[in-house]
Each structure stands twice: as C-alpha cells, then as structure tokens.
Subunit: 160 residues, 2 copies
C-alpha cells in the first residue's frame, strides 16, 4: 500500500465504489413491487429482474474468473427465480463472492490483457469498468420503469 498515494485510484477504493453502486442497485430491486419486478417493462424491453439476472451472471462470476484464471461460461439466466427475496439473496451472495475474490486480484493484474468468459477482450480494469457501467446502464432503465409505475426511485447519488 506504499504506492497507494501515487495511484489515480487503488483497488480497495474501486471495490468500495462498485459496492456502493451495488447497494444502490439492491435498493432499486427492493423498490419494485414483487409482480412488476418480474413482469413489468416499458416498450417491450426486459423486466428489471431479467436485467438483474444479467448483472448476477456477470459481476461475481467475472471477478471469480479474473481472480482464479479459470474461464467460466456467461450465464445470464437463473431457473426458478420468481420472488424478490430470492433475487435479493442472490444479490447478497454476489456481494460476498465479489469481496472474497477481489481480495485475491494482485494490483499489477489490473493493467493486464484478459478475455472475460473466453469472449470479451480488454484489460482487467476495462473489464471491471464494463461490469460497473453495464450495471449503471440497466439500473437507470429501471428508474424509468419505477417512474412509469408512479414510484420514486432511490437517490442516484446515495451509495451508502
């Protein structure tokens, strides 16, 4: 950690930044009524639960793969998940998985070229930024869903 002050951002801060976003995404999941979480969308898009399953398929499996070097398969579909509580439990399990495997990624790994899920080429940092950016992107779509349901979404800037 002696080099931390020379870093634009260090790995600990980036994890905290992401988990702050993930805490907000969890509150957006919670804000949906049970039925609308799984069935509602605007303009024929996916339900928010469908998007959350994509995020579950990318985040924790992606970090596990980066940490271990074992290439996994991208799976964005989870069978038998049709309750908000199930989705929140998977979300919380992902939180722990990300924390566990993140701690096993050496800082020098972030600049290395990798191929996530055997498909997507980039650096470690650009891959992780993609995971985060993609989460922000889909969560923001859920903000529109919530507004169209007459529900006020959580504040975007609140990441506690």
């Amino acid at each position: 950690m002696n080099t931390a002050t020379a870093q634009l951002i260090n790995a600990t801060d980036l994890l905290k930044h992401w988990q702050g976003h993930r805490a907000l995404t969890r509150r957006v999941i919670e804000a949906f009524p049970e039925k609308e979480l799984f069935e509602y969308s605007v303009s024929g898009m996916r339900s928010f639960s469908g998007m959350v399953m994509e995020l579950l398929g990318i985040g924790a499996p992606g970090i596990k793969e980066i940490a271990t070097g074992n290439i996994g398969t991208l799976n964005e579909h989870f069978e038998g998940i049709n309750k908000k509580e199930q989705l929140l439990q998977l979300w919380d399990e992902s939180t722990e998985t990300i924390n566990t495997y993140w701690a096993q990624i050496p800082e020098e790994k972030f600049a290395e070229e990798i191929t996530v899920f055997g498909l997507y080429k980039g650096t470690t940092w650009s891959s992780i930024f993609y995971f985060i950016d993609n989460e922000i992107h889909h969560r923001a779509q859920a903000y529109v869903y919530l507004r169209s349901l007459g529900i006020t979404p959580p504040f975007f800037w609140d990441r506690a």
Copy 2:
C-alpha cells in the same frame, strides 16, 4: 509515465474511457428525431435534451475547475438551445474543453480532496467518476425513450 504499469488505471486511459462514453452519448443524441429530443419523455421525466444540458453543465466546467482551481457555478440550463445541431455543437466544444483541461491535471491531484462547484465534496477521482456515472445513468434513460419511440439505440458496448 514510468509509473504507469503500476497504476490500476492511468489518467490517459481514464480520459479515453470517458471520451468513449461521450462518443456513445453523442450518437444517442443523434438518434433522436429533432422534436422528440426536446419534447419527448416517459412518465413526466425530463426530455433527453434537458438531461444533456445537465451533462454539459457538469463535464467540461467540472474538469476546467479541477484543472484551474477556480470554483465555478453549476449551470444546467442553456438558453436558446432548441436544435439538435446546437446541442451537438456544444457537445463537441465540451469534448475539446475536457481534453484541454484534462491534460493540465497532475496525476497526484486525483487522490486529493476537492469540493466541485463549491458544493460536492469528494476526491478528484470520485468526482470524475460521478461525472461519468451520471452520464451513463441519464443516457440509459434515453435508451428507454428511444425504445418507446420505436427507435433502436446504438450498441451500449460500442465506444469508438
């Protein structure tokens, strides 16, 4: 740049990452029909032009302020802007302003505590991440607007 290999991400790559997002946001502006860009929204939210003016008020002025240390005023409204071409021109001017002032931010500045627009406390990096995240957030809402207009938005992953 001798320390670049030890960086999780360096300033040059972060700028390129953001400008990639900004290029995508520009294509989303372009994808809107003129009238709908300024008048259309879902569920009583702002038009996408209103959101773009917020982004214009934050991005380039924020980076100029960080580079110069001169605290500015947050201005998210632009008078007399009612054509797509005007909005795109402001966008392109912001692109140049960001590039110009970004080059004047020393790398050690990114970890420093700052107060952007005299209002928002954070580090330099967390402030810039907020600018980027907020852009992704609002642009994603425009994706829903476009879908509800029957228009296919640009690919999220295309940042060229």
